[in-house]
């Protein structure tokens, strides 16, 4: 280690955050986590209630069927598009492309049903 590197290591010693700040930040993060948990739970309950009530009425069957069909078409197009894009890139294999596409489709499906 050169002289300058030795000086740098001393001059740029790690700095510990103040304990008051640490406590404040942890409380803030907990609050955010808690709020998100409540929102997620509320959304899940709402979705479950909606599913049960709407599925008992045949007039409501059309919407989810149409949504599923649209998602299927969108998903297939996305897979094809991604596979083509990935094919152009020599460094990425087709398996990666399909995996990524499948993940994208899964995300889309999750977003639709949230």
């Amino acid at each position: 280690m050169s002289e300058v590197e030795r000086l740098l290591r001393t001059a740029l010693a790690p700095v510990e955050p103040a304990s008051e700040f640490r406590d404040r930040l942890e409380a803030r993060l907990e609050e955010v986590e808690q709020r998100l948990t409540e929102l997620t739970d509320a959304a899940a309950d709402e979705l479950a209630e909606w599913e049960v009530s709407s599925m008992s009425d045949p007039r409501n069957w059309g919407r989810p069927v149409a949504a599923a069909a649209a998602l299927g078409v969108a998903g297939a197009s996305l897979v094809a598009l991604r596979a083509r894009q990935q094919h152009r890139r020599r460094d990425a294999g087709a398996v990666d492309a399909l995996e990524r596409s499948a993940r994208d489709v899964a995300d889309q499906v999750r977003k639709r049903f949230r």
Partner: protein
């Protein structure tokens, strides 16, 4: 298809990440900004932003450590801070970690002066060189980690650090010559 981790698992993983790297994020923010108040603000914003995007980052990391990603968030926030205020960072020796380093009493005054010159030299380096030195020496990051944090290749990062050290060395030699 990968299974999405539950929120409980994500929160637990995030807490571990936070505990492991709070000091790193704070140290980086402090040396980039130069005062504790704004370093605390940048650190808080970094973790809040990280929390929002944690699931995706974890999924896309393929098991690689998330420290470079975290430091990159702090890096971008610090860049915004400087852009908004259009001023250079000021590092105050009295506040920096140098005081916590053990020194023999007789060498203290001279050592402090030397370290002050080093910090001033670091602050006067071009942004990318200064950032790389902070990551290397304050956070003890490897070339690979620094490369990921700065969005560069490992080779380019190695050259960047080498040039930063050389530039600083020359600046210190010049300064000693002036005294």
């Amino acid at each position: 298809m990968e299974e999405t981790p539950s929120k409980v698992t994500l929160d637990r993983d995030f807490t571990e990440l936070y505990k492991a790297h709070l000091r790193d994020v704070y140290s980086y923010s402090y040396y980039r900004i130069g005062n504790h108040h704004d370093a605390e603000d940048i650190t808080e914003q970094t973790f809040l932003q990280a929390y929002r995007h944690f699931e995706r980052a974890q999924r896309e990391s393929n098991g690689r450590p998330l420290r470079p990603w975290l430091i990159r968030i702090a890096h971008n926030l610090a860049a915004n801070y400087h852009r908004d205020r259009s001023r250079r960072p000021q590092t105050h020796l009295e506040d920096a970690g140098v005081l916590s380093a053990p020194h023999a009493t007789a060498d203290l005054a001279e050592g402090r002066e030397e370290l002050k010159h080093v910090l001033e030299g670091v602050a006067n380096l071009p942004d990318d060189r200064r950032d790389a030195l902070v990551m290397r020496f304050a956070l003890d990051m490897s070339n690979k980690e620094i490369a990921r944090a700065l969005g560069r290749s490992e080779g380019a990062t190695k050259v960047l650090i080498h040039r930063a050290i050389k530039q600083l060395e020359q600046a210190l030699v010049l300064e000693r010559g002036d005294e």
